[in-house]
């Protein structure tokens, strides 16, 4: 049998703690007992590898899901999915969801008084290619109010869901936009203690994917956990 190689733990401060009181919803939902450190077994170093056929070819384009085009600023969001050793994560499922240009989600519990867009669902999927690259065409989402604290507004963001090669590498995160004045006031963004890690959630304006007469480009590279250097005891 091949020796098993586990996944190393993220660097200190690069992940939020479960309890972060400025984010009010964490107070009644974060565990209070210490987490138990798992040794990491075959159960965690395996994970779902989805066949590409589950995603329709056009699911990367959120601007062509309806008869008409959605309102708002058309953008291309692209990047590379890597592991901590800089290796591309190939053929891996990427899911996104977001608000429309007015800051409204197509969801029954979103009561924000902003218009829905009949031509925008806000959901997309794709797979990374052989170099770990992905690309979405979408609309720049609007900021929206929430009730975490007085006059609370979420900065513009797109939710990203990644699987990678293992149960251990599962990641759900949010991509933000450069220069957003709301970032410094947002408890979800600021829950990440390490500043460089926090700033890695902000996409970069990208001339390379900005298309003349069509759309601005933003680049968002995502890094999943890397593997240990040595095989696990088994």
């Amino acid at each position: 049998m091949k020796p098993l190689v586990g996944y190393r733990r993220p660097a200190l401060g690069t992940q939020p703690e479960h309890l972060y009181p400025p984010y009010a919803s964490s107070v009644k939902r974060a565990p209070t007992q210490p987490l138990v450190l798992l040794p990491g077994t075959l159960s965690e170093i395996t994970g779902p590898i989805f066949p590409k056929s589950i995603v329709p070819a056009k699911a990367f384009d959120l601007t062509h899901q309806s008869k008409g085009e959605p309102l708002g600023e058309r953008i291309v969001v692209s990047g590379q999915l890597l592991d901590e050793d800089g290796r591309p994560v190939r053929d891996s499922l990427v899911e996104i969801w977001q608000a429309n240009a007015a800051g409204r989600y197509l969801h029954k519990i979103d009561q924000h008084d902003a218009p829905l867009d009949p031509n925008f669902t806000g959901m997309g999927q794709t797979f990374t290619d052989g170099e770990g690259r992905y690309r979405f065409v979408t609309i720049r989402p609007g900021a929206y109010p929430w009730r975490n604290h007085y006059n609370a507004w979420r900065p513009q963001h797109i939710h990203f869901s990644l699987f990678g090669p293992a149960f251990a590498t599962r990641l759900v995160t949010q991509m933000y936009f450069p220069g957003d004045p709301l970032l410094e006031f947002d408890p979800i963004f600021n829950s990440v203690p390490d500043e460089p890690a926090r700033k890695s959630l902000i996409s970069k304006f990208d001339w390379a994917t900005t298309t003349p007469e069509t759309s601005l480009g933003f680049r968002f590279d995502i890094t999943l956990r890397g593997r240990n250097a040595t095989p696990m005891e088994r």
């Binding site: 479960h18 798992l38 077994t41 075959l42 159960s43 969801h107 959901m123 939710h159 759900v172 990440v192």
Partner: protein, 189 residues
């Protein structure tokens, strides 16, 4: 060049927009064998209130303890089509249910076989990163010697073991308590 892993952020209240297309509450498709089992339960917050805006994901081996994954060195994987992934969102009352097959035993870190278990991720508004837990099966003798259960304090171990339901032998019940006296054991890995 060594990068550092991207921080996790909450799924927020509207994750169903992105997740619903891959909802998978019946994991039994393609199973070559194994006992069918229904798992149902609730997720409860620090005030004991059910959480309607949560979703769990399941990952498990087949009835032979093999995973549909290239790193599980199955000698004869040709005919196996059991996938082992589930995604189950809560209903408006904070309840979930799914159907799967009881997995076989998977090798553990010390060369011993682990007791049958499901890997479970929990996502919801309020969780800045997922919670990781495991579901073990009731009445399973291997639970007594399972290495991972052995790492858990005695008085909290039962939070990881589903309850048998005498009225419905094929149904197990398992609640996830985020806080409180019965707080579920969550893992870091």
């Amino acid at each position: 060049m060594n990068g550092r892993s991207t921080p996790s952020q909450t799924v927020g209240p509207y994750f169903s927009i992105g997740f619903a297309w891959l909802e998978r509450r019946d994991l039994t498709a393609g199973a070559a064998g194994g006992a069918c089992v229904n798992i149902r339960g609730r997720i409860l917050d620090g005030e004991g209130q059910p959480v309607p805006d949560a979703v769990i994901e399941i990952w498990q081996a087949d009835s032979d303890g093999r995973h549909a994954h290239p790193e599980d060195a199955a000698e004869c994987s040709g005919a196996k089509t059991f996938f082992g992934f589930g995604r189950v969102s809560m209903n408006e009352r904070g309840e979930f249910d799914f159907k799967t097959i009881k997995p076989g035993r998977v090798p553990g870190p010390d060369g011993k076989l682990q007791a049958p278990h499901l890997e479970v991720s929990v996502f919801m508004r309020g969780l800045l990163r997922r919670l990781i837990t495991r579901l073990y099966f009731p009445g399973e003798p291997a639970n007594e010697t399972d290495t991972v259960l052995g790492l858990v304090p005695d008085d909290r171990r039962s939070t990881l073991v589903a309850r048998a339901n005498p009225a419905e032998p094929e149904t197990h019940e398992w609640d996830v308590h985020l806080q409180g006296d019965q707080e579920t054991v969550f893992f870091d890995y």
